[in-house]
Symmetry: C2
Subunit: 464 residues, 2 copies
């Protein structure tokens, strides 16, 4: 527990009402969307940058661990306060400072909910492309901290590609501004990228300048159904090789289709071996042309049916199915490893084959539901961790999956972050020199190690 002295200091900054200390609150704030948890000692809810800076200075003075949190939809343990201390909840900082259609930028506070921003900029004819499945709950601050992705990443890129500049509070309470609102241009190293994806281990992000793009004039959604998952995977590499860049190119295997259909009952093809959910956007003539070209490639690769959504409602039903995957999995089993193993897109068929082999070898169900056009495959292993034997097999399968991904030139995480869950494998991806470089830079920025301790480069071992 924090001392009364510390609590009084914090209360003097944010007000007593914005400090949570009750045991039930500590349980609520111990989780993110992984199955790991650890209780904080206090939750502090600052209203603005200066309050953040003052709280950070208190934490620095008393060496109290500080873990930032938005909506805590994180899938890698990033928002779990592993060492207790203070959870800094940033959801009160939810102002949109500016939407500027001429310069195509938005300037926001970290607590803005992603979908709210998308909705607001659409009214100005603009698009903020990153669209994680959690976008209706997750915050921009969390998206930036974890460098979230989403289906639209195939065409537009992930969060990193849209962050032009940041204001952040460093571990000593000083304030730094990085980048600027000049789209893409800037001198020197891009310090913004040191904080984007740093998962609250280097600074607290308090303001974000985001690049926006023109809202596409129109879009079309296609559903391609396959007997064999391998044929769906082949379609991915053939489409990308064909010079077509769809907006999204999502894959689901048989298990995923059944899980979603059981949950939503919207008539998904439960006997299929796999399906692709594809969107193309742009100007009408190009969208039409690309939709037809992609349909043709799907059929050549063995699709038994290709349906083009005829109405906005039909398209929305399909996307609802995609976004429901997380909830649907919750009904299948109580524990999951939701991975975002990402490989070069030409190797999607290879990764699919290797995942099917893993499934058999360890006798654990692998659900595939990824942004395949990005090579980001979202293999998800569902199990019950109370079943010790099953949990052990799931862990072994996961470990093998990670090493296969690296062997194929891929990355452990295309969008969920490293946090705690993937930290044991970070050294293998970064290499020894890169790992030490990460530790050293983090240490220079946070010498006392108060910022989200126990994560990424400072992982200390398994949580039990």
């Amino acid at each position: 527990m924090l001392s009364d002295k510390v609590i009084n200091e914090l209360a003097a900054i944010v007000g007593k009402a914005e400090i949570l200390l009750a045991p039930e609150d500590m349980i609520a704030y111990s989780h993110d969307a992984t199955m790991f948890s650890h209780k904080p000692e206090a939750v502090v809810r600052p209203a603005n940058r200066d309050e953040v800076a003052a709280v950070v200075r208190i934490a620095a003075r008393h060496r109290i661990p500080l873990t930032c949190r938005g909506a805590a939809t994180c899938l890698s343990g990033g928002a779990v306060p592993l060492k207790g201390g203070i959870v800094l909840e940033l959801t009160r900082m939810n102002r949109i400072h500016k939407i500027d259609p001429v310069n195509r930028i938005a300037v926001v506070e970290p607590g803005v909910i992603t979908f709210d921003l998308i909705f607001r900029v659409a009214a100005e004819g603009l698009l903020y492309p990153p669209d994680p499945s959690s976008m209706k709950e997750s915050t921009i601050g969390g998206n930036v901290a974890e460098c979230a992705g989403g289906p639209k990443g195939v065409k537009y890129g992930i969060t990193r590609n849209f962050v032009l500049g940041l204001e952040a509070v460093l571990a000593d309470g000083s304030i730094v501004e990085t980048g600027n609102d000049v789209d893409g241009d800037m001198c020197g190293p891009d310090w913004t990228m040191l904080f984007t994806g740093s998962e609250g281990t280097m600074a607290v992000i308090t303001r974000i300048s985001l690049r926006l793009v023109q809202l596409p004039q129109t879009k079309k959604t296609l559903l391609a159904i396959y007997d064999r998952l391998e044929d769906a995977a082949l379609t991915v590499s053939k489409t990308m090789a064909g010079g077509i860049v769809p907006t999204t190119l999502e894959i689901m295997n048989d298990r995923t289709i059944v899980a979603v259909e059981n949950y939503l009952k919207i008539g998904l093809p439960v006997n299929a071996g796999g399906l692709l959910l594809i969107e193309v956007d742009g100007v009408p003539s190009t969208v039409e042309e690309n939709a037809l070209k992609i349909s043709e490639i799907c059929r050549q690769c063995g699709a038994t049916a290709v349906k083009i959504a005829q109405t906005a409602e039909e398209a929305e039903d399909l996307w609802r199915a995609r976004r429901a995957i997380g909830a649907a999995f919750g009904r299948v089993a109580p524990s999951k490893f939701a991975e975002d193993s990402t490989v070069p897109r030409s190797l999607v068929p290879e990764l699919v084959n290797r995942m099917l082999t893993i499934q058999e070898k360890y006798d654990v169900p692998v659900f595939i539901c990824g942004h395949a056009g990005d090579g980001n495959m979202h293999p998800t292993i569902l199990f019950d961790r109370r079943n010790k034997d099953q949990a052990e097999r799931a862990e072994k399968a996961l470990e093998e999956l990670h090493f296969i991904t690296l062997e194929l030139g891929g990355t452990l995480s295309g969008e969920h972050g490293i946090g705690f869950a993937k930290a044991p494998f970070l050294r293998a991806e970064a290499g020894e020199t890169g790992y030490q470089m990460g530790r050293e830079v983090k240490t220079i920025l946070d010498p006392s190690g108060i910022m989200n301790p126990g994560k990424m480069f400072f992982y200390e071992g398994k949580l039990h």
Copy 2:
């Protein structure tokens, strides 16, 4: 001079033929494309990464300054060996390891000439967009180190937006790999961005993975002529506000037009107050539509004539005029400040007005020739530094220009880098905390300060 002992150590690595020591060579390697110069003590030309690492270890052991160089077309002093020591010339490392059309990446050594890469990937139906005016001489390594831009930045972004991963040799000779070849996706902070734009102050880049895009099916070039430069500037903000993203949107003022025409004699409108050179690319129907829309906006903003190039030759003539600006300026005056002041694009008209005021106030000619669609205006002050009074006025004009750019929310450098030339103003842009952060991170990576000393965060004062 380096000792015989050091020279023998270096010769044992790269061979005697690849070490230059002659006085005339030291003069040749003392320059980049700025007017500043300082002689090195030796030029070393390694053939591969391992030779680079071995040379770096020798430099580290003896604390010898090490300045990397490609073609030295740098416009901010980045390749000038300010503290003498070794110039590491990387032009022998010019292999293209891989061009992969399915994953749309190229993996190259730093010494590859930018245009050679553009030419090679075009044969595969792909585009590497960054196109600095120096692209026929400059190397990819230099482009990455300085984070070069180019006319196509308006639509596609600058070099930073195309670097997926790097291999680099750190100041102790250890080798780090950052990022990967998975387009856009990656876990953790983007360490690649710590080295991109770091101008050789943090590491020697030895391999680069670049993102490529589909080669556009077609393009069109437009020339819009104005009586008043202000009207050309207004066209820029109106075009961007109109939701059209041209591939390039270049501006030239009257002085620039006359200088280029005197040099090339291709019939540019020498009586115009300003002109815009615009390119649109994409699928034919969209290109046609956007070209017409832009013509209309140009006329509404006061263009006296708008010409659409009818043949590839006509278009190439116009682009030749743009690329000849640097050479044309060389005939006007012996000294220049070639700046890349960049502001939010909505403020292009404001910056143009302020530049015209500066021109009058200090009685120095300001040549404007920028990537206006990016807000990157390239104000260039031409003078003769042997004329002390004129040189002083030019310096004062430059200083005021930098502070106006920052006041407008812009950046000192959209693409040329900080190097030595803009380092006196870096603190004003980065802020005190950001400046100290930069110094600390650089120091952690290069504790002895051997990597390109005297630049960026370690500027020590004017060169005379």
